[in-house]
Amino acid sequence: MSHAIQGDPPTRLAQLALVCNDPPTRLTQLALVCNDPPTRLTQSALVCNDPPTRLAQLALVCNDPPTRLAQLALVCNDPPTRLAQLALMCVVIVATSGVATAQDAPSLRPHRFTIGGAIVWSGAYDIGEATAQLRGNGPGASAPPVTLFTSDSRVTSVASPELRIGFAMTRHFALEFATSVTQPHIGVAIAGDAEAPSQQLPGEKLEQYLFEGGATWQLPVGLGAKLAPFIAGGVTFLRQLHEDRTLAETGQIYHAGGGARYFLRGGQGIGHAVGLRGDARVNFRRHGIDFENTMRTYSTFSLSLFVGL
């Protein structure tokens, strides 16, 4: 162990090796070799450059009793496929980084609220094709129908403001509520009309009210002292009003995704944090205005400014 701490100051990888290892192992040796100063890239390269068997050995050596890391390495090692190797490497990188940075990564203050304002861009999605058909003329009761025209409807993409309030249950886990009002259009493409050219109608303007409840979990991944990635999920109540507010429909949106908080200030557990946040999501919309009543998938991206209270 003594030579393993000869770094001045000890690097993160060396620290990791020390934590894992008594007496010094191949890992600490490797870390020392690689260290002066080891960047994250070299750390990754170190892990990745070893063949899978070595990786498993390292994990085992590192570990008494066996850890999840070693288990993963072992699982992957008999025989390791290329994909499994890559996946394992990623897990190892994330896990080691997490261990390495858990104490230093910025995070929300537990039991405090955050408030934020965002600009959200929502992608377009189809809401159904339909064919206007006439009863066909022919003997019997079931002559083939005749198409008068077809319509293909789509909710257009839209950018909109959003208000978001969060409550950090822990440093890494937060509950959130968000609301926004958006005004996309329903665009309609007409085709197949023997008496009129195919055309895109300007469409109807919708008014959408979204009320979202969800949670974020900050990943144990160190991306520096200011950046903290997270994953997110939740459900949204959707209320859609047709133009002229003559008819309302409701639905639900389920989302999963992730993003990162970039702390401009704070994030170390004291003081009020201020930062930027980026989100990318996949949304699964159910019900609401839809002419085929099927689940629709679309993406959203948002950028927000948040303040810890």
Partner: protein, 329 residues
């Protein structure tokens, strides 16, 4: 003091003649206002003339009429009842206080399969009597699956009963000209389309959405079902268009329901629509002779045009006014 007038409305179902319009209602003018012509008392009693037709008997006509009246009575959103009163030796024409259906040989009407005539109280709009004659010049059939070269009697009866109840012709349909100048139906969206299907076809034994909307507007079932209307105006060069055919299409249900602009301002109303957004399509009456529908001149010089956006039929009431601007051909 009531005033009654006898009308033989040009409500004829023709073979190879003209086409196209969505539901119209028959009306009477009272104090300058048009009121719907409807039956005020139900059940609507009718007699069957005992004269046989071409290829079918009077009893066949009775059976076909009973099926057709049951079809109209079966519309859930409307309240209709019929009652067969008996057979009669009287012809299905003239004012005799009896509503009669029967065959009459009219070889002079070589394109008319059947026609309906009315006696209407013009002070109330009440239909006092109506007769339906089926032209024995044509060979009819009551075969369950239709019969080649014979016109399906039940389909014709269903159409004429629509007139008897107060519906005019519908224009939802497309036709093509044949070499002899007559029109052939390509497809129709209403039993009330004015041109019959090909002989042997039986599809028009079943009502379509346009027919149901029309009859529900005339005889709404209590309590009124959850429906809404779309109102608007068709204009060309800033002026209203008279006689434009406006069709509302619901992309969710596939329903097609139509109506016309019925005044010089180009105003139209499409009532009894299930709530939801609709694509509106405006077309000139060019699949039929305009005088099949309107006694006065109408404008047919414009292109098929779609409303710029979908229009919503609300839960009850009507949509805000929508203007559809058409261009000359």
């Amino acid at each position: 003091m009531t005033r009654r007038v006898a009308l033989t409305v040009a409500l004829v179902l023709t073979l190879g003649s003209s086409s196209s319009l969505a539901y119209l209602k028959l009306g009477a003018i009272l104090n300058g206002r048009v009121i719907d012509a409807t039956w005020k008392q139900q059940p609507i009693g009718y007699f069957i003339s005992d004269r046989p037709g071409n290829g079918v008997s009077a009893m066949d006509l009775l059976a076909a009429s009973q099926r057709a009246t049951a079809t109209w009575s079966g519309v859930e959103s409307a309240t209709l009842r019929f009652a067969f009163q008996g057979m009669t030796s009287a012809p299905a024409e003239g004012i005799d206080g009896k509503t009669t259906f029967g065959f009459i040989d009219r070889p002079d009407l070589d394109r008319v399969l059947a026609a309906t005539s009315f006696l209407i109280d013009t002070t109330t709009g009440e239909i006092a009597e109506a007769d339906i004659f089926f032209n024995s010049k044509f060979a009819f059939s009551v075969a369950p699956n239709g019969q080649a070269d014979r016109v399906d009697l039940e389909s014709v009866a269903l159409h004429e009963l629509g007139h008897l109840l107060g519906l005019g012709h519908s224009a939802i349909g497309e036709t093509e000209r044949s070499s002899n100048g007559s029109r052939r139906v390509i497809g129709s969206g209403s039993v009330m389309f004015p041109i019959a299907m090909t002989a042997g076809a039986t599809a028009d034994r079943v009502l379509q959405a346009d027919d149901i909307a029309g009859i529900s507007d005339l005889y709404p079932a209590p309590p009124t079902l959850d429906t809404g209307g779309i109102v608007g105006r068709v204009t060309k060069n800033g002026q209203g268009v008279m006689g434009a055919h406006v069709v509302a299409f619901n992309p969710e249900t596939g329903v097609l329901i139509g109506n016309f602009t019925l005044n010089a301002a180009g105003d139209f109303v499409i009532a009894r629509l299930p709530p939801g957004p609709y694509v509106l399509r405006v077309e000139p009456i060019d699949d039929a002779e305009p005088d099949s529908f309107f006694p006065s001149a109408i404008d047919t010089d414009f292109r098929v045009t779609y409303a710029p956006r979908m229009v919503v039929a609300p839960h009850g009431g009507s949509s805000p006014q929508v203007e559809i601007r058409v261009q000359p051909k």
